[in-house]
Point group: C2
Chain length 263, copies 2
């Protein structure tokens, strides 16, 4: 329902990454799978999750979705260290272990570096051949007829810096993720509690807003998105304030918010 | 989420009646059960459904809701004829078989008749004793000191007529339900298709808007609520018009609509 409300093109969703098998993170999945089927999906849907999911879901799939017109492919996450679990021409997705009450992964989504564009004026001026354009895109220098190297800035428009996004939920305050998520443009991190409940956060393996902000600051991320707030907080202002005191570029997220990485 | 949006008091929900085990009628159940648990529910929740539900849900309950602070009681529906499946001081709930692609029940919710109130003026005028008041409420006549029967309208305010509601979804056009739902105040009936698709309705065991209106008219119901429309209909006006041509007191329902039975 949320995807539909946001007019997301369902056919563009081919991989689903599930951090852990707690109900609030997976109860919507059967409805999603079923709706995709009703809408006539044909291409396989890949679900990356703890290995238990397959055994739990297959009886329901067989009973409720016996005529599903597409294939579900389950991929088992591992929890012993960072691992690239998906890769295509444009992006990689890496899972890395978090620490919660059940086996849990965070996910790091990274664009691959793109090649620069060669300036049209330069192509014209130096009568560049395809071979020379390819070489420029690959980072080789270009030597002009006068035997001198033409400055790079005259020849190419650098590619935008590859974007990156890390998703960390649910987890206790876990400083060992810092090198993994170092420098991402966007970090989504859970902040179930305010720091006044740091003991409860610890005992339930959750993070406080202040702790999440500390991770963001020390990992030098571009922007911190906080979510997964306990329903006890009607007013999130105190959580926002305690996070911003540590890391100013913090945003409290709501359902259906959309964030664009600016480069 | 819909219950919360409508500010429904969750603790007042003790029985859930599931017509049949198709995904669009049950995928929300696990989330509901889990949320009730997170909110600290203590009283048992009774689920009336096809017997397969228990076997399907128990592995998920054990995995995702192992610390549920209340009991789930599964009650198996039967599909061979009308049956009272719930009764308390105020209401009865009766299941009755529908005809769909899997075993399906409709549900008839009936208030029990209430006793009339005895008029305060009459209590004063005739110095009525408790025993006489109880007798009046039970329908006995009252003989005044002059030996004449006092007219009923001078003594009592009749109780409001018991309200009734029938829920019929999903089902093919099924005229044998008419005597079961005869005269209900509100009838919810599915109308998946317009009558231009009556063949598709038949082959998928659904009902057209016109057919549902025919059921409502012939069962002499107070008001017909139509729902469960195929997502192909962006504009429901044609379905509304074909239904109203047969049964004027038809309402097209949307999520979160509330209907009060007027008496």
């Amino acid at each position: 329902m949320q995807l539909r409300k946001n007019k997301v093109n369902f056919s563009k969703i081919n991989h689903i990454f599930l951090s852990h098998l707690h109900g609030d993170h997976i109860f919507g999945l059967m409805g999603l799978i079923s709706t995709f089927g009703l809408l006539g999906r044909r291409s396989a849907l890949h679900i990356h999750a703890h290995e238990d999911l397959k055994g739990l879901f297959e009886p329901h799939l067989n009973y409720f979705c016996s005529d599903l017109p597409y294939q579900i492919v389950f991929h088992n996450l591992t929890f012993d260290g960072p691992k690239i679990i998906y890769e295509d021409k444009k992006v990689t997705v890496e899972s890395f272990p978090l620490s919660h009450r059940v086996p849990t992964c965070g996910f790091l989504f990274k664009e691959k570096p793109k090649q620069p564009n060669v300036r049209k004026e330069a192509i014209h001026k130096y009568q560049l051949q395809v071979r020379e354009i390819v070489a420029l895109k690959e980072g080789h220098p270009f030597i002009g007829e006068d035997g001198k190297m033409v400055p790079e800035e005259e020849l190419i428009i650098p590619a935008p810096r590859p974007a990156s996004y890390a998703f960390c939920s649910d987890t206790r305050y876990l400083r060992r993720i810092i090198p993994v998520i170092e420098g991402v443009d966007l970090l989504y991190h859970e902040a179930t509690f305010g720091h006044e409940l740091k003991d409860l956060a610890k005992s339930t393996s959750h993070t406080t807003a202040k702790q999440a902000a500390t991770i963001a600051r020390d990992a030098n991320v571009g922007k911190l998105l906080l979510g997964h707030f306990s329903s006890r907080y009607r007013d999130l202002k105190p959580l926002e304030e305690e996070a911003k005191a540590v890391f100013e570029k913090t945003v409290m997220v709501k359902d259906n918010d959309v964030f664009t990485i600016e480069r």
